[in-house]
C-alpha cells in the first residue's frame, strides 16, 4: 500500500486530524523550547510569583515567579523526551525479541514469552518505583523504568504480526532462496509489521507521558530544578487551595497531550489494514 494514500485516508478520519494537530502543537512547543522560551526557566523572581494571566506572562507565573508558559514548554519537552526514549528502549529491545520468537519458535520463543510474562507480572508503576528507588530518582532512571515496561509490549506486537507473515508464500520463497531467518525477519517481516509497531509506539508514547507524570508527581521522576509536567503538578499541589490555576495548567496539558497522542494512534490504527486492528489491541 502506498504511503501517500494511507496518509490521505487517515486525514479523512476526524479523530486522526484532531490528534495530529494536537500532537503537532505539543511536539512543536517541545522543539521550540530547546532553543527558545519566552523567559529563562531557571530565574527565580519571588516578588512576581503567582502572577495571573497577562500579556507578558501568558499563563501567569509559578510559586517561584517563573513564567508558566516557558515552564510548560520545557515540561512538555522533558516529558516527551522521557516518553520517546522509553519507547525507543522498548522498541529496540522488544521488536528484535518478538521477531526472533516468531522466527525460531521452540524453546527460544518459550523463553522470550516467559520473560515477557515476568515483566508483565509487575505492575508498570511498581517496577518503575523499584528501579528509581534502587538507582535514585532521576529523569533517566524513570526513562529506563518505563522503557523496560515497554519491552514486552513491543515484543508481543512484533511476534503477533510476524507469526502470520511467516506462513505466507513469499516467506517460503525467501527461505528457498537460501536467506537465513534473521535476514528474512529484517527484509521481509519487519517492513510488514512496521505500521503495526508505529501504531503501538504512538500509544506507548502517550502512556509514557502519563507514566513520567506519575513518577515525577510522586517525586521519583524528573528532579528540580529541571521540570516536567508531573513535577509541575506536584509542586502546584500544595498551592491548590490558594492558586488552583497552578495545578490546572500542567494537569490540563497532560490530559490534552495524552488525548492527542491517543487520537493519533486510534486514527492510524483505524486507517491501516483492518486486519491489524485485532492484533494492536493487545
Amino acid at each position: 500500500m502506498a504511503e501517500q494514500s494511507t496518509f490521505a485516508r487517515a486525514l479523512s478520519h476526524p479523530s486522526f486530524r484532531v490528534g495530529l494537530l494536537g500532537s503537532f502543537i505539543f511536539i512543536l512547543l517541545a522543539l521550540i523550547s530547546v532553543v527558545w522560551t519566552p523567559y529563562a526557566t531557571d530565574i527565580v523572581d519571588i516578588p512576581n510569583r503567582f502572577g495571573s494571566f497577562s500579556a507578558s506572562n501568558w499563563l501567569g507565573t509559578d510559586y517561584l515567579g517563573r513564567d508558566q508558559f516557558s515552564l510548560l514548554m520545557v515540561g512538555i519537552a522533558s516529558s516527551l523526551k522521557v516518553a520517546l526514549l522509553a519507547v525507543a528502549i522498548g522498541a529496540l529491545v522488544g521488536v528484535p525479541l518478538g521477531l526472533m520468537a516468531a522466527a525460531q519458535r521452540g524453546w527460544l520463543e518459550a523463553i522470550i514469552l516467559r520473560f515477557n510474562d515476568f515483566i508483565f507480572a509487575f505492575p508498570a508503576i511498581i517496577s518503575a518505583i523499584i528501579i528509581t528507588t534502587l538507582f535514585g530518582p532521576s529523569a533517566i532512571n524513570a526513562m529506563v523504568a518505563i522503557g523496560i515496561f515497554n519491552i514486552p509490549v513491543f515484543a508481543r506486537v512484533a511476534r503477533g504480526g510476524a507469526l502470520s507473515l511467516w506462513t505466507l508464500e513469499y516467506v517460503d520463497a525467501a527461505k528457498l532462496s537460501g536467506l537465513t531467518s534473521a535476514q528474512i525477519s529484517l527484509r521481509h517481516i519487519l517492513p510488514n509489521v512496521a505500521s503495526l509497531l508505529i501504531v503501538q509506539a504512538t500509544i506507548q508514547l502517550s502512556l509514557g507521558v502519563l507514566a513520567e507524570a506519575g513518577l515525577s508527581y510522586i517525586g521519583l521522576g524528573t528532579q528540580p530544578p529541571d521540570t516536567s509536567l508531573g513535577l509541575m503538578l506536584k509542586e502546584a499541589q500544595s498551592f491548590f487551595f490558594g492558586f488552583p490555576m497552578q495545578a490546572i495548567i500542567p494537569g490540563l496539558a497532560i490530559v490534552l497531550f495524552v488525548i492527542s497522542f491517543n487520537l493519533l494512534g486510534d486514527g492510524l490504527r483505524d486507517t491501516l489494514d483492518p486486519k491489524l486492528t485485532r492484533v494492536s489491541t493487545l
Binding site: V44, I46, Y217, Q223, P224, L233, I248
Partner: protein, 495 residues
C-alpha cells in the same frame, strides 16, 4: 484525573469529620503531627531535635525544666541553693518519684546521668553543657551537689534541656528504643516510619497531664500534612510544614494558627574544610549572592526573620549583622574571580525534607547561579542527611535549621559538620562558657557573632518561625520554642 480523585477523597474525609465531631468532643487523647521522625528516642544521645520533640517534658524530666517563656522552673529538683561564689549548686530532689519501669528515683540516678554524659565515650550531643562540671556528689538520697569550675549564667537553663534529662542506670542503655523516664507520659509503642504512642503515667506525682494518650504521627510531606489536618487525622502540628496553607487554616473556624518563633537559625550549611568552600572569598561571594527576603517570601511565605549571623534575633545579645554582606552580584563575581573561579564552579546541594530546605534550595540555587555557581540539588531523607552530611561530612552545601537555643558554641568545635576551625573564635567561646557576668557575656557573644558573619562560615538565612496549626478546641500549646520539645502536659480539650 489525580486532582479530581483527591477532591472526592477530601470531600469524603470532610463528611467523616463532620459525622465524628460530636464524638471527638469528649476525647482525652491527642494526635500531634511532626514532619521529622526521630532517629531514636534517647535525648541524651542524639542531636536530632525530633527526639526532644517527642520525649522532652513528656517522657523525660531533668533537674530543672524550661517553661514556654524560656524561664527555668523546678522539676525533679524541687529547689536549689547556689553558693556565694557561684560554683556550687545544691539540689533538693523530689521524693517518691519512680521511673516508668517501677525503679525509684534518687540521687544515684542523677549521679549516673551526669557521669554518663561527662564520660569520655559519651554520645551526648551537647557535651558543652557538662564541660564546666567538676564534680557531682550525692550528699544523701534526696540531695545532690554539683560543682562547676567557674560561675556560669546559664547553668540552670542548660541542665533543663533535653540533653540533660535524668535517666536510670537500669534502663539507660535501652532508652533509644524504649525510653524510660519519670515524666507524666509513659512510652507505649513506636511504629517505625509511622508513629510514637505515649500514655498517661498514672503514678506521676506532679501535676498530671490532661490527656490519657498522646500520639506523635510522622508526616514528612507538606501536602499530606495539610490533608491530614483537614481530614482530622491529626489534631495539630506544633510547627506546620506548609506555610502557604496557613491562610486556609486561619480562615477556617475549626482551626487555630499559633504564631511564634523558634530557636531555629536556618542556614546554608557550608563544608568549610572542602575546596572551594575552604576559601573565605568563596564563602563571602556566596553570602553576597543570597537574597534573604526572597528566600523567606518564596520558601516560607513571609514567615521568618532574616539573620546575619548564627543567633536568634529575639535574644537580647543579638547583633544585627544583616549588612555584613549585602546582596551584590558584581562584588560576588569579583570575589570568586579573585579566589580563582572566574567562571564559577559546580557543587552539590543536599536538601533534607523540610519545606524550608526543599523549596529554599531551589531559590538559593537560582541565586547562586547568578554568580556562576551551579548547584546539583539532591533531595535526601532525614536519616540520610544525618549520616551523610552531619556525621560523615560528605557534602558541599546543605540547608538546615539549628533549633538548639544559644548554640553559637557549635562553631568552636572543628569536628562539627561545618568543619570551621578558628582559634580566635574558639577562645571567645571558651571564655563565654565560663563567664557569669551578664555584660561580659553579652560582649563575648556579640564578638562571636561578628566573627561568624565576617568569615561567612555559613550562609545565614532566617530565623525559623513557629507556626502551629491546631484544632480550635485545644489549648495549652507552646507558641514559642525556647527549647526543643513539644510539652503536652498542659494541653487539653476545651469542650
Amino acid at each position: 484525573m489525580q486532582i479530581i480523585e483527591k477532591t472526592v477523597k477530601k470531600s469524603l474525609a470532610f463528611a467523616a469529620v463532620l459525622g465524628l465531631s460530636t464524638f471527638s468532643a469528649f476525647a482525652s487523647d491527642i494526635r500531634v503531627g511532626m514532619v521529622l521522625e526521630p532517629p531514636h528516642l534517647d535525648p541524651t544521645a542524639g542531636a536530632a531535635a525530633a527526639i526532644d520533640e517527642v520525649v522532652y517534658a513528656n517522657v523525660f524530666e531533668g533537674l530543672t525544666r524550661i517553661d514556654q517563656n524560656g524561664a527555668v522552673q523546678p522539676s525533679l529538683a524541687t529547689s536549689w541553693t547556689i553558693s556565694n561564689d557561684g560554683t556550687t549548686y545544691t539540689f533538693n530532689l523530689k521524693q517518691g518519684v519512680s521511673f516508668h519501669d517501677g525503679t525509684s528515683f534518687d540521687a544515684d540516678d542523677v549521679l549516673f546521668t551526669f557521669e554518663r554524659a561527662r564520660a569520655e565515650d559519651s554520645t551526648n550531643a551537647q557535651k558543652g553543657i557538662f564541660a564546666p562540671i567538676t564534680s557531682v556528689t550525692a550528699i544523701d538520697p534526696a540531695t545532690v551537689e554539683i560543682k562547676i569550675a567557674q560561675p556560669q549564667g546559664d547553668f540552670l537553663f542548660n541542665i533543663g534541656r533535653g540533653d540533660a534529662v535524668i535517666v536510670a542506670p537500669e534502663s539507660a542503655e535501652k532508652n533509644q528504643s524504649n525510653p524510660v523516664g519519670t515524666g507524666p507520659f509513659k512510652f507505649v509503642r513506636w511504629d517505625q516510619g509511622s508513629r510514637v504512642i505515649l500514655e498517661k503515667n498514672a503514678d506521676y506525682t506532679g501535676t498530671p497531664a490532661h490527656m490519657n494518650k498522646a500520639t506523635f504521627v510522622f508526616i514528612s510531606d507538606p501536602n499530606a500534612a495539610q490533608n491530614a489536618m483537614l481530614a482530622g487525622d491529626v489534631d495539630g502540628f506544633a510547627n506546620f510544614p506548609a506555610p502557604e496553607s496557613l491562610a486556609i487554616f486561619e480562615a477556617d473556624p475549626r482551626y487555630q494558627v499559633v504564631r511564634g518563633s523558634t530557636e531555629g537559625e536556618t542556614i546554608l550549611s557550608t563544608n568549610n574544610a572542602k575546596a572551594p568552600f575552604d576559601d573565605v572569598r568563596v564563602r563571602k561571594a556566596i553570602a553576597h549572592a543570597l537574597d534573604r527576603q526572597a528566600i523567606i517570601d518564596g520558601a516560607m511565605f513571609g514567615y521568618g526573620t532574616p539573620i546575619g549571623t548564627h543567633f536568634a534575633p529575639h535574644h537580647p545579645y543579638y547583633e544585627d549583622l544583616l549588612g555584613t554582606h549585602p546582596r551584590d552580584i558584581e562584588g560576588a563575581k569579583a570575589l570568586l574571580a579573585e579566589a580563582g573561579y572566574p567562571e564559577g564552579f559546580k557543587a552539590t546541594f543536599k536538601l533534607p525534607p523540610p519545606t524550608y530546605a526543599r523549596r529554599g534550595g531551589q531559590i538559593i540555587a537560582a541565586q547562586l547561579r547568578e554568580i556562576g555557581i551551579e548547584l546539583e540539588l539532591i533531595n535526601v531523607e532525614w536519616g540520610q542527611w544525618l549520616e551523610d552530611v552531619f556525621k560523615t561530612k560528605n557534602y558541599d552545601l546543605s540547608i538546615v535549621s539549628h533549633v538548639e537555643p544559644f548554640d553559637i558554641g557549635i562553631y568552636a568545635n572543628p569536628g562539627y559538620y561545618f568543619q570551621y576551625d578558628n582559634v580566635v573564635f574558639q577562645a571567645i567561646i571558651e571564655k563565654l562558657n565560663v563567664t557569669a557576668d551578664e555584660a561580659k557575656r553579652e560582649q563575648l557573644a556579640r564578638a562571636a557573632q561578628r566573627i561568624l558573619a565576617e568569615d561567612a562560615v555559613n550562609g545565614y538565612l532566617f530565623q525559623l518561625a513557629k507556626t502551629g496549626v491546631w484544632n480550635a478546641n485545644l489549648e495549652g500549646m507552646w507558641p514559642n520554642s525556647p527549647v526543643e520539645g513539644n510539652d503536652l502536659t498542659a494541653v487539653r480539650w476545651t469542650n
